[in-house]
Point group: none
Chain length 87, copies 2
DNA sequence: AGATATTTGTTCGTATGTATC
DNA sequence: GGATACATACGAACAAATATC
């Protein structure tokens, strides 16, 4: 149960976990509109406290990677439609 | 968002913030049994760290100005009923 | 309708480490 | 060495929204 991450000491845990989630979104492991792990999930998988997990999600939310609905969970944000990528 | 206090250097920040809160209680800005700003509020309003905000509240609590309930917040203490003010 | 479980939001309590004065 | 101040991190408790039974 849970990766046993040996956290580096030169960077906060919440940043390291956020980076892992970020990469999973980029890699497509977590797809748009699908749910990402709950704070409880992160606690178990990474062996961190809930407030630390909360901080991870807040960071990802503030950078627009996910959106959150209380009582439901967090979800991968849809692709950016404001950018002129598809003409 | 937040007063921009230019903290004096001759006195600890936590004491200066405590004094501000103290004065607001005296002035009636914060009334008995009503909630005073959370530690998070103080962080934002005064631009201080949470541990510093915590120190502020602890000082006010120890002098009886407020009481605290974990998970709820801190509240202005009721008027002192032990003193023989109203006969 | 009611109870329960899950999930996020928010609050305080505490400890540790680092840096500065 | 002690006091101040910051960030990090864990724990605990209360609250609200959602979903399910």
């Amino acid at each position: 149960m849970g990766i046993v991450i040996d956290f580096r000491e030169d960077q906060p845990r919440w940043q390291q976990v956020a980076q892992v989630i970020r990469e999973r979104i980029t890699a497509g492991t977590y797809r748009p509109a699908s749910r990402v792990p709950s704070e409880n999930d992160l606690m178990q998988e990474f062996g961190i406290a809930r407030m630390t997990a909360h901080k991870v999600m807040r960071a990802l939310r503030e950078e627009g990677a996910i959106y959150t609905v209380r009582g439901m969970g967090s979800f991968v944000s849809p692709p950016d439609t404001t950018a002129p990528s598809e003409a």
